[in-house]
């Protein structure tokens, strides 16, 4: 009987001590922060494009001999924010002293967000727009307006593509 009381007393002592042991444990939290910043990356399938010579009556709009330019635009932007790809000519087409206005180059485009347009050396022209982040691909077919009045020569111009993710 006395042994049973001692056992009961020991159990009570252990039960009372147990909560005290849990209260001594330290709870802690760590805040994990992953920063996703804006970034833009642009890939063009070629660095050069060429318009072959042609009869203006037979081919009034000459496509580039290598076909469309394939464009891959990768961008990370805030939700709802417009990502824009523009194109601007550095100058008119030039062959020595002869000039053909940049507006003689136009394009058609395929791919979501891509639009056709006319080249300008004065201001950037929109090639494509999208909303938010993503990887977008499209193709752009350049055309040269072929006129009898163009002075003969080999004309060159540099085109600058700019992808902006605000």
């Amino acid at each position: 009987m006395i042994g049973s009381r001692r056992l009961l007393a020991a159990v009570l002592v252990w039960t009372a001590a147990a909560p005290a042991a849990r209260a001594a444990a330290q709870a802690s939290t760590a805040t994990l922060s992953a920063n996703v910043g804006t970034i833009a990356k642009l890939n063009l399938s070629t660095a050069t494009a060429s318009f072959p010579d042609a009869d203006p009556d037979a081919v009034p709009q000459i496509p580039t001999s290598s076909g469309p330019i394939l464009i891959t635009a990768k961008s990370r932007a805030n939700p709802g924010i417009l990502v824009v790809l523009t194109l601007q000519a550095a100058d008119d087409l030039r062959s020595g002293v002869n000039i053909i206005p940049a507006s003689n180059i136009t394009w058609t485009a395929t791919g979501a967000g891509f639009v056709g347009g006319t080249l300008s050396k004065v201001a950037p022209v929109t090639v494509a727009t999208w909303t938010g982040s993503g990887v977008r691909t499209g193709s752009q077919q350049l055309y040269f307006r072929n006129l009898w009045t163009h002075p003969t020569g080999t004309y060159t111009v540099s085109l600058l593509y700019t992808l902006s993710a605000p």
Partner: protein, 166 residues
């Protein structure tokens, strides 16, 4: 345990301080060099392949006029400073197989920008000329001196038109 909490807090603060703000604009650029080849070309279109003079009394009609004017369409592309030239040249005198009429009896009047009147010869005579390229159209009306001295017959001559865009 407290040490672990403090380390976590310091790490989180460091990440926040060193990261790029989410609202910074990201841009990517690409360029394409475009070349357009514009070569010299010449295209000549005559409204008819034959010209006819009807018979007439030399006293009444000393100068015969062809039954219809000949339309001449010129398209040429050349260097800006070069001159496009259209010439006509007879293969010989007017001939009926047994008699001839001197080809210098054949003259023409012309209308249209850059077209000029002239007298036919077995050497090249200028019908039109202009600097640079472009499209031009004119009408050439042939006339033949009508003389009592001509032997009767049907006379023919071949006229060659040559358009040159250097």
């Amino acid at each position: 345990m407290k040490k672990a909490v403090w380390c976590g807090a310091i790490a989180a603060a460091a990440i926040a301080l060193c990261s790029t703000p989410a609202f910074a604009q990201a841009t990517a650029t690409g360029s394409v060099t475009v070349t357009a080849n514009v070569n010299a070309k010449a295209k000549l279109t005559l409204g008819a392949a034959s010209v006819t003079f009807n018979d007439a009394d030399p006293d009444v009609t000393p100068l015969l006029t062809a039954t219809s004017a000949l339309s001449v369409d010129v398209k040429a592309r050349t260097a800006a400073a070069s001159t496009v030239t259209l010439t006509v040249q007879a293969g010989g005198d007017l001939d009926n197989g047994s008699a001839t009429i001197g080809i210098n009896n054949l003259t023409w009047a012309a209308t249209g920008t850059n077209f000029v009147a002239g007298t036919m010869a077995t050497t090249a005579s200028t019908l039109a000329s202009y600097a640079g390229g472009g499209n031009f159209s004119g009408l050439q009306t042939y006339r033949l001196v009508n003389s009592w001295n001509y032997a009767t017959g049907t006379y023919t001559a071949t006229i060659t038109y040559t358009l040159t865009a250097p």
